[in-house]
């Protein structure tokens, strides 16, 4: 299958069930909401070593937030509800509670509740005050710029992590341009994040390693430096730079829609812009229950 000179592999991305929550962080202005959100979603590229995968979903206008201030919604994904609860508490405690003027609210109403302000309230050393407003409990913790308001809990939902695209390009400039365009197209969609730096990962991995202690190692089949050296290589003399985009989403449909938008953005740039082939990472379909077939995604209507 060739689209605008770009070969679409007859392959699929393999994704896994995860647990996620959405937090709404508001602040005196968007700058400080973003400062908190960037900090809280820092060092959260992969569950392999970060404990969670997190990112900014979108910016919120004052009309869209519970307290009428500018805000940012962030999504945090983890492999279990317990680990997610730990990550939320640490990240909100260290990065949102600490950030000037912020407040934090649950961005998802339905689902199993995990602590948000429930334990952070003890920072108030007895001066904290609970307030139930319209059936929702909030905590008011006195801090040096006034008070930190946090909803008591946030909800955890089942979700999908690990959707991905491999963008195989002619050179670094082309690969960055294609990847940036694809990420920009995906960011326009709700309910998804691309957790890696700038949304893009250059160190795509395969499962396992020659070293027994490593669970994942470099995806040698896609490393241009190993062309002609590795036993099996997907690299050709023309595809000399590969970028991967990993997508976590609240539902299978959200991940599929983001992958479709990313592919379409890449195809729009086409072979003329240096994108030669789009592939996806999988493990033979044996590990993850969610399979995103690239050609099926492109054939499906965009609204699906």
């Amino acid at each position: 299958m060739i689209e605008n000179g770009v070969a679409i592999d007859d392959s699929f991305a393999e994704a896994f069930p995860m647990k996620a929550t959405r937090l709404v962080i508001t602040a005196h202005n968007l700058t400080w909401a973003l400062n908190a959100a960037v900090s809280a979603t820092g060092f959260a590229t992969s569950v392999i070593a970060c404990g969670c995968e997190a990112g900014i979903e979108r910016e919120l206008s004052p009309a869209d937030t519970p307290d009428g201030r500018p805000g940012v919604s962030v999504l945090i994904f983890s492999m279990s509800g317990k680990e997610l609860a730990k990550q939320v508490e640490r990240r909100v405690g260290q990065c949102v509670l600490t950030c000037p003027t912020t407040a934090v609210f649950a961005g998802i109403a339905e689902g199993e509740a995990i602590a948000l302000g429930k334990n952070l309230r003890f920072f108030g050393d007895g001066w904290q005050i609970s307030k139930v407003i319209d059936g929702v409990r909030y905590w008011r913790v006195p801090v040096m710029d006034g008070e930190f308001v946090a909803q008591e809990t946030t909800a955890v939902v089942k979700c999908v992590g690990g959707g991905n695209l491999l963008l195989m390009c002619t050179d670094t400039d082309a690969a960055l341009a294609v990847a940036e365009a694809a990420v920009a197209a995906m960011k326009a969609l709700p309910n998804v994040i691309m957790p890696f730096p700038g949304g893009v990962v250059r160190s795509g991995s395969k499962v396992g390693s020659k070293y027994a202690t490593l669970g994942a190692s470099t995806n040698d089949a896609f490393c241009p430096g190993l062309h002609g050296l590795a036993a099996r290589s997907e690299i050709t003399p023309r595809t000399r730079c590969v970028m991967e985009i990993v997508i976590d989403g609240l539902t299978e449909a959200d991940v599929g829609a983001a992958m479709r938008a990313g592919m379409q953005a890449g195809i729009a740039i086409g072979a003329a812009g240096g994108l030669l082939r789009i592939s996806a990472g999988n493990y033979g379909g044996k590990l993850g229950p969610f399979h995103f077939h690239l050609r099926k995604l492109l054939a499906a209507p965009a609204a699906a």
């Binding site: 307290d67 009428g68 001066w127 005050i129 307030k131 407003i133 006034g146 008070e147």
Partner: protein, 270 residues
């Protein structure tokens, strides 16, 4: 589920205790069976039909009282669900200890309306007597959940020992408003009497139009609480009346009562 309309035949000689006459208890009963329900009348139990004409009324399960029930106490007492409407005034303990459902009184109510209520909504389209949203005599906790709305004026000791829920008075409130309040939210649309927040520990009392006299055991707050205020004001605004414009108002706060726990606040949005 069929509803019933209970029309008061005449003013009872002594007070009538209507506890137990609730939508859940009447569900599935015939008109004759409803009329045989025993209600307290002084020291004796008397069939409901002695005082009320019972008629079927609609099929949504609503229980409607018609007439001057100001000598009938405990309307909606311990109500846990369903809908009760009183077309006329009601007596003491109206909506007391209710935990769910909707009770609406189109008239004034007596003492202790909504006392120790834990859930549901009680709307009094008229005045409420003393000790509304408060506690039963000797009990430690007053209103502990739900919503109480008084569109007229309220008497003394409104919200005494209240610990959760929302209680709003569109008009004036008497002396000792929010006395010994533990937590929760009170909103006053008009003026308040003396000794506001006497001994209050926590909780918020919002004055939408008129600042009360503030006791010296309260201190002015120097910090803003804009986030909290927006959350609270937006919730109160949906009840309309004097509270509708609260989200756009600036506020000043006074914290106390320092003679007690001191974490309560009087919020002046005036």
């Amino acid at each position: 589920m069929s509803g019933f309309r209970l029309s008061l035949k005449h003013a009872p000689a002594v007070r009538v205790d209507l506890r137990g006459v609730l939508p859940a208890a009447l569900a599935g009963l015939s008109v004759a069976q409803v009329g045989q329900l025993p209600v307290g009348h002084g020291r004796s139990l008397v069939p409901l039909a002695e005082f009320f004409t019972v008629d079927p009324d609609g099929d949504d399960g609503t229980l409607r009282f018609v007439g001057d029930l100001s000598r009938c106490d405990r309307v909606g007492w311990q109500m846990a669900g369903g809908r009760v409407i009183v077309d006329g005034p009601a007596g003491h303990y109206t909506g007391g200890c209710m935990s769910g459902g909707e009770l609406r009184v189109n008239g004034a109510v007596g003492l202790l309306a909504g006392c120790e209520m834990a859930g549901g909504q009680l709307t009094v389209d008229g005045d409420a007597g003393d000790f509304a949203a408060s506690t039963l005599p000797g009990s430690m906790d007053g209103m502990r959940g739900g919503t109480l709305i008084v569109t007229g004026h309220a008497g003394q000791r409104f919200g005494d020992r209240m610990r959760r829920g929302t209680a709003l008075v569109f008009g004036d409130a008497g002396d000792f408003l929010a006395s010994r309040m533990v937590a929760g939210t009170i909103g006053i649309g008009g003026r308040a009497g003396a000794h506001v927040g006497y001994g209050m520990r926590r909780g918020s009392v919002v004055f939408a139009t008129t600042a009360p006299q503030i006791a010296p055991t309260f201190v002015p707050a120097v910090a803003d609480a804009l986030v909290f205020w927006q959350l609270l004001a937006r919730d109160l605004a949906r009840h309309g009346g004097p509270f509708a414009a609260l989200p756009s108002r600036a506020i000043t706060r006074h914290l106390g009562d320092l003679a007690s726990d001191g974490r309560g606040e009087l919020i002046l949005a005036t």
